[in-house]
Symmetry: C2
Subunit: 103 residues, 2 copies
DNA sequence: CAGATATGGTTTGTACTGTCAACTAGTTTA
DNA sequence: TAAACTAGTTGACAGTACAAACCATATCTG
């Protein structure tokens, strides 16, 4: 039958979590994005976004750069090479299951 | 831009969890399955499978029937109507994101 | 100038969840 | 009768997500 179902349990949970999946999806599309932009794009609360970003940074998936824009602090995020690789791998698994579910 | 990314955070987490997603995917394909079959199909441990099944039953997504097959206890599981509906809804969201990720 | 409000976040607390190891309960084998 | 197997369930523990509170600074408002 299908190892495909077994594969599901191997999804990268760090990415699979909906909040982080949204973040990763946005970042993979936008190349780099600031905190406020992610806030709007994902609909997450600030606290949530902050902690998920920290987790993704700790995993080495995103790079967080803090600086200033005018007088306000300003945080920009981008996928690292590793993050992009991890997301590509996830995407592959995701799409494999999608093909299964389509039928 | 895209509400699609916001939609991600609305995934039904009960189904989205990889272990349960595997279970639901199998059940949606097989119409009804016994414990051992699910064990093999998903690769989960018995304890894990048991507790996830309980959760899905508590949510009203699967129906669990206990009986005997010969002398051994025997548990069969099937999606309820509600479970099938929920899974269909999830599938729709899943595939919508898949289309996004394909590009 | 004092106070209120906005920006851009971080930290904390709580409640939930997933997972594995250990256990129950009965059956077969030798 | 003792060991090993089938078919599960339960308990304990670690990890997580989320909201609410908090912080620092900057800019308006009267």
């Amino acid at each position: 039958m299908a190892d495909e179902f077994k594969q599901i349990t191997n999804f990268d949970r760090l990415i699979h979590e909906p909040s982080r999946l949204a973040i990763m999806a946005v970042l993979s599309a936008c190349e780099n994005a600031d905190f406020t932009f992610l806030l709007n794009a994902t609909g997450l609360s600030k606290g949530n976004l902050s902690s998920h970003l920290s987790k993704l940074r700790d995993a080495g998936y995103v790079n967080i750069t803090k600086g200033f824009k005018g007088n306000y602090p300003h945080t920009t995020c981008a996928l690292t090479r590793g993050g992009r690789r991890a997301f590509d791998a996830y995407r592959k698994q995701y799409l494999a299951l999608a093909r299964r579910l389509k039928k």
